[in-house]
């Protein structure tokens, strides 16, 4: 059996390699047969000619016989495919322009799709690299006033743990940026301080060494560290002996107890500039004044108990929050609540909608590209109608012809698929680099085989889809009619309905995309033009941390901070300098300090203890930042030196907390009510500042003085100066180090940059969608143009006759373009209807713009009409300018 197969294969390959010999042999064999038969016939009494004819008649169609034998001998189906491919390549090469456009557009469609799908898969579809990640939730406490609850306080979580039945474990964490002095200037180390159960909650075990012990998660005992895998490679060269050594953090030795596995994804636990490298126990000290119930500076992650749904957990936690609000009315507003989100949602919830939206946009672009190519192939198929008819008449089967047309389009789409893969590789890299901080730099954002497979399937599916249209068309055509139709016939446009529908849908899709990008663009401009509440120009922001045991003493901190301010003030070119505990426009992580706003003369039970953003600043802060004073006065140096505590509140605070009252002179505390602590007099009201982003509403804010409420975590310096950043940073660093050479200085950046960064996600979505919108518009224009050129070319002789008979240019033009304009109009109306329905999805991405913004709709419609008219007019105009005589001789 096998031998027979190989024998056959050998013979076939021999025949394949020696095609000429095979042909000659077939020829000779049949010729010999004919001669013998003729000879025989003559012997039977026929004359020579008659004998030969009879022989031929007997044998039948010699050419056909040879063909049959040749097919027998060779790999017939493969050769047919090869033939089709060569024919396809020839056809495509005959029209390089349209082919290039078609391949490029499809490649763009496929490439954009793949790149976005990679990101969507990496961010939204791949499960988080923790045990049973779908059971993990993020917790935060807020009330109806909190715009984006993200934080919890230590005390309340202790109570939650004691009361909940729906949550297995709750772990807490916070960012920490100590310095490590490995010779030379101190360097920042990105750390995460976590409760001892943190890694159990996530279900992560260490790669080397052990996790944290329960007794290590306590004040004074927490000096142990876990290293991230990349940090271990970087600092210890992957040496297992690292476990047991120590690292110096803020000059305190930390014992390295273990290394986390490579697969552990730490990026999303922080929005600091870099993923955490070192992990240390939280070691929370409840004796510190900052550990109050309303002092929310921790993040919480928890695991749901088996069989508990997130809705049940939400209900339970909210009732616990209400209980606590009743038990501690001084600390909580009455409508205190707990937000619970799936962990993934809490991290990527913001960007999820944007990513799906963009993926949808690329699908639209791909569809338009497909429509364009289908149009191109249809036009080509129509040009080949006579050729196809002739071939059909000569006996080519419909299947055979359809296969050939299909081969052509599959070839086209494979070319485009290859181009698409290249674009996707490049595009994914680009996307990951541009993406907002939540996503940028995540592990696993790259082109993986599944996605490659996706691309190739999309490309081939597209090819078949596209090829089907002309293939079916060609099968439907009555070939007799096609043969009879005179090429000179003056007939109306013989375009198929398919083409009409394609053009209209292109316009429709392009309209939806352009409206969406228009709305986003408008939102972006609106957000960009929001007044941040302070002057962002020539403002450098820079952090420093005072390190060492001597700063346990608050007064030592204040003295050092004051000296730093004095020294920097004297740098040439520095107009003004001041410090704050929290800079504006900081992200929610580490840059956020919310505290309860307690008023002395509003006694308990006080149902409305509002939360405010708390800033601890130096007296010159408002001057440096350019925050306007609205009522009362600013802090003075006398306040700073004196013992009477002073406070300044923002306009919204004044309006919300003291409606119709004069806030000046009211006495407040930030945090819980502690009658043993001093009360601060409100001395002034200043303008609101955008804390959570230009596109987020402003929140109530209050300011205290750094010398009266000392803080010894990272201090933010605001320096107003027109000196170039590098020189200024160096000068500032020198002055800080002159005060204490162990001080950690980090994250210098201009406020304009911080402002721009705060709109990263909006810019990302907007610019990508705008790019896709423009692409869609362009592709639609190309589509209309292509169809119009084809129609006009078909009607050249008709136009010639009309012009020769004296038709007015304008009438003819109208006649020719009418069809195209009509289809564009139908598409426009469909697009309008679709947009009205679809832009609602966009609403969450918009800022200060209605999803049905009439101006955007009207301008987009006008742009599209202009583009469609141009795409119709140009080819029509060209046809008009042809000399009637030439037009009549056409073909």
């Amino acid at each position: 059996m096998l031998r027979a197969f190989f024998n056959e294969l050998r013979l076939r390959i021999k025949a394949l390699l020696n095609r000429k010999q095979l042909d000659r042999d077939l020829e000779d064999e049949l010729a010999y047969h004919l001669d013998m038969r003729a000879q025989n016939n003559r012997a039977a009494g026929m004359n020579a000619e008659e004998a030969r004819y009879a022989a031929k008649r007997n044998l039948g169609n010699v050419t056909r016989l040879k063909e049959v034998s040749r097919e027998l001998w060779t790999f017939a189906s493969l050769e047919t495919l090869w033939q089709d491919l060569r024919y396809g390549v020839r056809t495509l090469r005959k029209s390089p322009g349209p082919t290039t456009v078609a391949v490029l557009t499809l490649a763009l469609g496929v490439g954009a799709n793949t790149a976005l799908f990679s990101v969507v898969k990496g961010v939204l579809l791949n499960s988080l690299p923790y045990r049973q990640p779908e059971r993990l939730v993020a917790l935060a406490r807020g009330d109806s006033q909190t715009p984006l609850p993200t934080n919890v306080s230590f005390g309340e979580v202790e109570d939650w743990k004691a009361r909940t039945r729906s949550l297995q474990e709750i772990a807490l964490y916070r960012g920490w940026t100590p310095s490590s002095a490995s010779g030379g200037a101190p360097e920042i180390v990105y750390c995460l301080r976590v409760t001892q159960n943190f890694f159990q909650v996530l279900g992560t075990s260490t790669y080397l060494g052990r996790g944290f012990l329960r007794e290590e998660d306590a004040p004074e005992r927490w000096h142990v560290a876990l290293l991230s895998y990349p940090y271990w490679l970087r600092r210890f060269g992957g040496n297992p002996d690292a476990v047991g050594q120590t690292v110096l953090l803020n000059q305190v030795p930390f014992l390295i107890v273990g290394v986390l596995p490579k697969s552990f994804e730490p990026r999303s636990f922080t929005d600091a500039g870099s993923p955490p490298d070192v992990w240390a126990p939280l070691g929370y000290d409840r004796t510190l004044p900052d550990s109050c119930r309303s002092c929310q500076h921790l993040h919480a992650v928890a695991r749901l108990n088996d069989g508990v749904s997130i809705t049940q957990a939400r209900a339970e936690m909210n009732s616990i929050a209400s209980q606590l609000a009743r038990e501690f009315p001084k600390e909580y507003p009455r409508d205190a609540m707990v937000t619970i989100l799936p962990l993934r949602e809490s991290w990527y919830g913001n960007i999820k909608m944007a990513l799906w939206l963009l993926l949808g946009a690329t699908v639209f672009v791909l569809l338009i590209a497909c429509a364009n190519i289908a149009n191109l192939l249809l036009a080509q198929a129509a040009k080949k109608r006579r050729e196809v008819a002739v071939r059909a008449a000569l006996g080519a089967s419909r299947i055979r012809i359809a296969c050939q047309l299909l081969t052509e389009s599959v070839l086209l789409s494979l070319l485009a698929g290859a181009g698409g893969v290249l674009l996707a590789v490049w595009g994914t890299t680009l996307l990951v680099r541009w993406a907002p901080a939540e996503v940028a730099g995540l592990n696993g954002l790259h082109l993986d085989p599944a996605i490659l497979f996706f691309t190739v399937s999309v490309a081939t599916a597209t090819g078949i889809l596209i090829g089907l249209v002309p293939a079916i068309e060609s099968a439907r055509v009555d070939h007799r009619e096609a043969l009879q139709a005179s090429s000179r016939g003056v007939r109306g446009p013989s375009r198929s309905n398919v083409q009409r529908v394609l053009v209209s849908s292109e316009v429709c899709l392009a309209f939806v995309l352009t409206v969406a990008s228009g709305l986003l663009l408008k939102s972006f401009v609106r957000a960009w033009n929001v007044d941040p509440g302070f002057n962002v120009h020539n403002l450098l922001e820079l952090n420093f941390s005072l390190i060492g045991a001597k700063y346990q003493d608050d007064q030592a901190v204040v003295r050092a901070q004051t000296e730093v301010l004095d020294r920097i003030r004297h740098i040439p070119g520095v107009d003004s300098v001041s410090l704050t505990s929290t800079p504006p426009l900081a992200g929610s992580f580490g840059g956020l300090d919310r505290a309860g706003f307690v008023i002395q003369d509003r006694r308990v039970p006080d149902p409305e203890v509002p939360s405010v953003d708390r800033y601890i600043v130096s007296p010159g802060y408002f001057h440096t930042m350019g925050i306007p004073l609205l009522r009362g006065r600013l802090f003075t140096e006398a306040d700073a030196a004196g013992s009477n505590h002073a406070a300044i509140i923002s306009e919204i605070t004044a309006r919300q907390v003291f409606p119709g009252e004069n806030p000046l002179g009211k006495r407040i505390q930030l945090g819980g009510r502690h009658d043993d602590r001093p009360w601060a007099d409100i001395v002034g009201v200043v303008g609101d500042v955008h804390q959570y982003g230009l596109d987020a509403p402003t929140t109530p804010q209050a300011y205290l003085l750094y010398s009266q409420d000392p803080f010894n975590y990272a201090t933010v310096l605001a320096v107003r100066s027109s000196v170039a950043q590098a020189a200024l940073t160096r000068a500032v660093e020198e002055q800080i180090w002159a005060v204490d050479k162990n001080t950690l200085v980090f994250n210098p950046s201009w406020m304009t940059q911080i402002l721009a960064d705060s709109l990263t996600q909006r810019r990302f979505t907007m610019s990508l969608l705008a790019a896709f919108g423009t692409l869609a518009l362009l592709l639609a224009a190309v589509g209309i143009y292509g169809v119009m050129s084809y129609t006009v070319a078909q009607r050249t002789s008709e136009i010639g006759i009309r012009v020769a008979l004296g038709a007015q240019m304008r009438d003819t033009l109208r006649l020719v373009t009418r069809d195209g304009v009509l289809q564009a109009g139908v598409g426009l109306l469909a697009g309008l209807a679709a947009s009205l329905a679809l832009t609602r999805i966009l609403a969450s991405q918009l800022f200060a713009v209605s999803a049905l913004d009439p101006l955007t709709f009207v301008s987009v419609a006008m742009v599209l009409i202009a583009v469609a008219a141009a795409a119709c007019y140009i080819p029509a105009r060209r046809a008009m300018s042809v000399d009637p005589v030439v037009a009549l001789r056409h073909e």
């Binding site: 000779d28 064999e29 034998s69 027998l72």
Partner: protein, 113 residues
């Protein structure tokens, strides 16, 4: 479609292969010879459709039942000679046996009243 009865000499599907194998049993021959031999030995009853002969020869060759060789004919022309291979001989025996059984069975069926 032609009516079968109008061409009594038409061969049943598959029979042509058997006849070719049989024709070559006694020695190698060229295509024309095969056609003539079948015609003559059936006493002019069976007429091979010459158009079908050559594809059949080539098919059998590809299947390894026949071997071919170019030689010189009696009248000094280049001609392709076919001969049975060992596999071909075995197949001929099998097919002959099968044909006998089948035709015998058909004959018996037709004889019953």
């Amino acid at each position: 479609m032609k009516d079968k009865r109008e061409n009594p000499g038409d061969l049943l599907q598959g029979t042509l292969d058997l006849l070719i194998l049989k024709a070559l049993a006694k020695g190698s021959m060229h295509g024309y010879g095969v056609a003539e031999w079948i015609h003559e030995s059936s006493q002019d009853v069976l007429r091979v459709e010459e158009g079908a002969l050559y594809p059949a020869l080539h098919r059998l060759e590809l299947r390894g039942l026949l071997a071919s060789e170019w030689g010189t004919s009696d009248n000094n022309r280049r001609a392709k000679y076919y001969a049975l291979t060992a596999t071909g001989r075995k197949r001929l025996a099998e097919e002959t046996e099968y044909w006998r059984r089948m035709s015998g069975a058909v004959a018996r069926v037709l004889q019953t009243a």
